[in-house]
Amino acid sequence: MSEVQRTSLEAITPGMGLGEMVYGPLRREDLKAYADASGDDNPIHQDEEYARRTGAPTVFAMGMLPAGYLAHALSDWFGGPQHLRRFKVRFTTRSWPDDEIVCNGRVVSIEGHIVRVEVEGRRRGDGPPELNLEREQVALIGEADIELPE
């Protein structure tokens, strides 16, 4: 959990960064654990051969796993999940085994009691050698509304 807790509006200013939170590195067991917990049993996330047959070099994470990490980061940034009013993400690239997921965010605006933040999760790692990926890429990007007391 985060040491800095932004639990009231007076602690927040537009433009303020929320601080990096790093999850992973993603292991195949993490994909399996998320598949079991979430019910997303698409074999493309667990079965190496199946993934290859679809044209992927190996298995990759279901988008909702890094999205779950980003929700985790939001909860820790603002002192718990109870203030979250909206959370939206768009997936921009896949995350691969051994990637770390680096979450970050920034306060965009404050209107009334609602703090709007931009958030992103970057995958960081070598990725499958066949893909020759950049070491760090934005895997998901989004925004959230947090309702805080004065």
Binding site: A37, M64, A67, S75, P81, Q82, F91
Partner: protein, 148 residues
């Protein structure tokens, strides 16, 4: 004939919430321990914000397709976007009622000439008193057949 709306139950059970919380790396005790959750003003252990994606355990992709009839080719489908609107978070011991429908279905031309179809499944979850808890919007993108 496709149905307009698919209604299902989503039980919020302690073991499942804890398992899901561990799977997204959670360490905040409000997701594991009822006493701590109560100290933070929750009536019981809280489900993580993305927990309702477990709706797939109640309504399989096949059932969703058969009953809502988006007719997607899953060999070309990606999860494009996800949005949640919260009144509050679910807590263990309750069973939410989900109402799922296709809220958006449109096609747009892609940058490389192929078209992309966006289909959004919106699930509105209410509690046992009938009050709204949260809305989840799950957007799939079906890519064009022959764009490389």
């Amino acid at each position: 004939m496709a149905e307009d709306e698919l209604v299902f139950d989503l039980p919020v059970e302690l073991d499942h919430v804890q398992e899901f919380a561990r799977a997204v790396g959670e360490d905040n005790p409000v997701f594991f321990d009822a006493e701590v959750a109560e100290q933070h003003g929750f009536p019981n252990v809280v489900a993580p914000p993305t927990f309702t994606t477990t709706q797939i355990l109640q309504v399989s992709r096949e059932e969703r397709e058969r009953r809502l009839g988006a007719n997607l080719d899953y060999g070309r489908v990606l999860h494009g976007e996800q949005e949640f609107l919260y009144k509050r978070l679910p807590v263990t011991g309750e069973t939410l009622k989900g109402r799922m429908r296709i809220s958006k279905d449109f096609t747009k031309e892609g940058k490389r000439g192929g078209s992309m179809r966006f289909v959004t499944y919106e699930s509105v979850f209410t509690d046992e008193a009938g009050d709204e808890v949260l809305t989840a919007r799950y957007t799939l993108i079906e890519t064009a057949k022959d764009v490389g």
